[in-house]
Chain length 567, copies 2
């Protein structure tokens, strides 16, 4: 087994739909996501190619119209991403994949510019070209003439359009440029449009605008230009979402956003807030039907992939976005929630916090169990135990949001315990139990080695195994696997495909609690199946052990049924 | 040289000014802070009375006009806070202290309502009264008549004004109420104004508004009402800052905000973004002269007091608010920083950061070194070595963008190596070197233990230590620290404040790589200083070891200078 080589995280997804879907507005309104390009500029984000495929898949599930995947030709990882996507690793049902790039260099021919060629080679149907539209940037950063810049835009757009690509033009620093010179930006736009570009995206690249200024300029450009206008806002004034919405109110029909507002400096306009506002406040159904309740799940899964803790107070999708603390409100909320919430939280897949602890706990557990294929109808006793167990565990740092398999094991364990209590018998044991393990990591003169020994009981046999690994968890996994595989050889087929570590609320650095998520996969009857398990402990090795054990127990035959393997 | 001026919270305050000061706009524009009342509704914030005094002192240093301290009479802690403030524990030089409370209850007399009496007893010169201004809330939540509600407002305001208090009226749910009934909210406002209230604050209590709607309603109310209008926005659409700014553009001259946007659900309008926008974008000098560069310091100190990690991407004051990652931009930024920043970061007490990433070239490395206080001018040989080293390391999984201290060590090591090569001598060794370490993690019958032994050479001494810990990294940290602290006792003062682990997907056929980031802190001459180091290895323990070693080497005296500790 190797840790994380091929596919990365795939949180439990709805079944892939074969037919293409689109929003009720069709091509009349574009939700354009640039998490993989502009969002990746955020400090701390480094997507692997596998991450990029997982991010694009989630965005497609949400139903955005366009996914900008990166800059092929400029970044080797992006070139690889487009190649693998074109080779079939990325199957989009809703979104079109977009490649980002620059116009040809000054004084060259578009068809001989290697970066322009790389855009064509990427296989993307849609291209976003970035162009300078502020006179000062043309002269001081690009260091070319104003007319050559226009020719660079026109030539490059025409070449791409001639090759059958749809082209959007991102006008960098448009608003600053417009303040200094009302005409030049429009000339850049017209050069692109007359060469066949479809949308001219006005970019507030340094993020210094406020909504009223955006609204005025977009309205003027729409009136003066007569072409389709898009908007791209950065959050340096804390107004990116509002600026995007203001542009739509002024006539923009293409919004460029990033998931959770990830991006350089203060970030970009947050996709979820923008979509939430357009859909629920402005009555623009910009996502396919049924997509809005996926927002919270997708937002949190994308945070996991970026390895950034979700912002609990994020508008619409934050776990606290609908939580009420004021005692003043609590009783009124219970009677009349819409007096205090701007929106029914379930519309965006969120929940009102007060209700979760008081009454909705049982309902969500039942719903979740049903989703996992376990029917809890008529098992009120067990549901109560499960709710209590979840509360205790979540208080201690567990999180089942991304660990369906561990949650299902918890349900199975509690059901078995309830049944055993009712029958007055012992709870049936898990397929194997631990006596002890020991892991040793050594660095001797620069050579690092790891070795693990486990002692487990499988049925009535006591088995001791020792294994080496490239790290303590890998060694432990190998030792455990070889101990248990004597009895259950099918475990040799289980692959560990992802391993994530999160340190929770570190009060004092290494004293904090560690949460480990392990994703495993096996070739099942209906293709590869993947499941995720969780472990929590102050000790990262112990937390990993818990998640590894759950990962194996999950596929083994048990008294409460086996969800994955053919029996 | 200091470590990343932005990451450290410096409690060092400017000397207290004896004379009262105010903003150039005087009473014509109110910056009203409600961090201590509405901000404290945020999930997770619990201020003690001492915290409240510290928060108010910081806000006063920043120069806000009003500080709402709480709800005396309703919350015992708030009653105590006002009593202690009145007794002299809080000496404000700029702000006025404000008490928050409700109007008299229905069917009672204002002078006999204990909560109204508590407002008078608090000693606060200014009172904010909250009133229902939405018909549905009067009828369904307050359960009284529309006319009794008007009387409650009028009576209470009059009593407070008769006792010499200045009164602001917070109209709860004003915008929803106005959408349903254009007149009732105005009648509530007029009841207050005719009884002597100074400002009518329109509150978007459930946060569901967008800027254009706010702008229109504020403008209409201003035209129809003829009284002074204030604004209070929640962030449920992600537009609280923009909504506040839009209200000011429509004529509001009183803005209610909270530090860092703390507040219930998605939070409130962020004081720092609102003030930044009003001051630098709308030319409204709403703070006293010289106050703006205090914003970043005050924001981070208030985050510390709330025990919430500062939002690194917060507009204006986030440590990444002026960070640039794209290599494309870095060379242009070197020439002309105002082409890419919406504002000179020092205006708000912030700094421009260049992120060192795989996209970095020579320009970024030189800029970054300069930011860290290392002058590489004329060291083209060393710059070339550093760029190569960064590229090699980043290709192997290192990431310096969040690990300034490791990057600085890399610069120092490469400079030392270049100098040594030029002089034909050996490279001077680091303050300590590793012979070996061994870490053992055991789980025996459910009891988990960790033990680490390290053998290091410090100068010409060989030291062996063993330590236990709650996990392998903690044990290793303790053992290393106690080995090296014999010679460098100042290391006992270093605290490990954060520890992050990221698993990087490996290339096909290889195992994954672990990247560890360690943040450490020490009490420096000018307050606490914090730095971050990085380690990368297939083995999480070895990666942690590397980051721990860098963290200690960074503060130790070396031939290339010591950045943190006084010598």
């Amino acid at each position: 087994m190797t840790v994380s080589t091929t596919s990365a995280v795939s949180p439990v997804a709805p079944p892939r739909v074969a037919t293409r879907r689109s929003s009720p507005l069709g091509d009349a309104f574009h939700v354009f996501d640039t998490t993989l390009r502009d969002g990746a500029q955020r400090e701390g984000i480094t997507y692997s190619v596998a991450d990029k495929i997982a991010v694009a898949t989630l965005l497609d599930e949400l139903g955005v119209g366009f996914i900008e995947g990166g800059w092929p030709g400029a970044m080797p990882k992006d070139t690889e991403f487009f190649a693998r996507a074109a080779a079939g690793e990325l199957a989009l049902t809703t979104a079109k994949l977009v490649a980002f790039g620059a116009t040809r260099k000054a004084g060259t021919r578009a068809d001989q510019d290697p970066q322009v060629r790389a855009l064509l080679d990427s296989g993307a149907e849609v291209i976003t070209l970035v162009a300078k539209s502020d006179v000062r940037h043309v002269e001081r950063a690009l260091r070319t003439t104003l007319s050559e810049n226009l020719a660079m835009v026109g030539d490059t757009v025409r070449l791409l359009v001639d090759h059958g690509r749809r082209v959007f033009l991102d006008c960098e620093h448009f608003f600053d440029g417009y303040a200094a010179d009302r005409d030049y930006g429009l000339r850049v736009a017209e050069a692109a449009v007359s060469a066949g570009a479809d949308v001219v995206v006005l970019c507030d690249t340094n993020g210094g605008m406020l909504p009223m200024g955006i609204e005025r300029v977009v309205r003027e450009v729409r009136e003066r230009g007569g072409f389709r206008v898009g908007i791209h806002c950065q959050d340096d004034t804390g107004c990116a979402v509002a600026n995007t919405v203001a542009a739509v109110q002024a006539g923009a029909t293409h919004v460029q956003c990033t998931a959770n507002g990830y991006g350089e400096r203060a970030g970009n306009a947050d996709l979820f807030a923008v979509v939430g506002n357009l859909t629920t406040k402005m009555n623009l159904p910009v996502l396919p039907e049924g997509a809005l309740p996926e927002m919270m799940r997708v937002s949190h899964a994308l945070a996991e992939l970026a390895n950034i803790a979700p912002n609990t107070h994020q508008a619409y999708v934050g776990s606290s976005a609908f939580s009420h603390k004021a005692g003043l409100h609590a009783s009124a909320i219970k009677v009349d929630p819409d007096l205090y919430n701007h929106l029914d939280p379930t519309v965006v897949g969120n929940d009102m916090h007060i209700l979760i602890t008081e009454m909705a706990g049982r309902a969500s557990v039942e719903l979740k169990a049903k989703e996992l294929g376990v029917d809890l109808a008529g098992r009120t006793d067990a549901v109560g135990r499960i709710v209590d167990a979840v509360k205790d565990r979540e208080a201690a740092g567990w999180s089942y949001e991304a660990a369906d398999a561990s949650f299902e094991l918890l349900i199975r364990d509690e059901l078995a315990a309830t049944d055993a209590a009712a029958a007055g018998v012992e709870v049936p044991p898990r397929p194997f139990t631990l006596e002890s393990y020991r892991v040793i990591v050594e660095n001797t003169g620069g050579t690092v080695s790891s070795e693990a020994t486990v002692k487990v009981h499988v049925g009535d046999r006591r088995i001791i195994t020792t294994a080496e690994g490239n790290g303590p968890v890998n060694a432990l996994d190998s030792a455990l696997r070889s101990a248990v595989a004597e009895r259950y050889p099918e475990l040799n087929e289980v692959e560990l495909v992802d391993y994530k570590v999160r340190i929770l609320a570190g009060h004092a650095g290494t004293d904090s609690i560690t949460r480990v998520l392990v994703s495993s996969s096996i070739q099942g009857l209906r293709g590869p199946q993947e499941w995720t398990t969780v472990g929590v402990h102050a000790n990262v090795v112990e937390a990993s052990w818990q998640a590894l054990v759950d990962a194996l127990v999950y596929v083994l035959p048990s008294s409460t049924g086996n969800p994955v393997l053919p029996t």
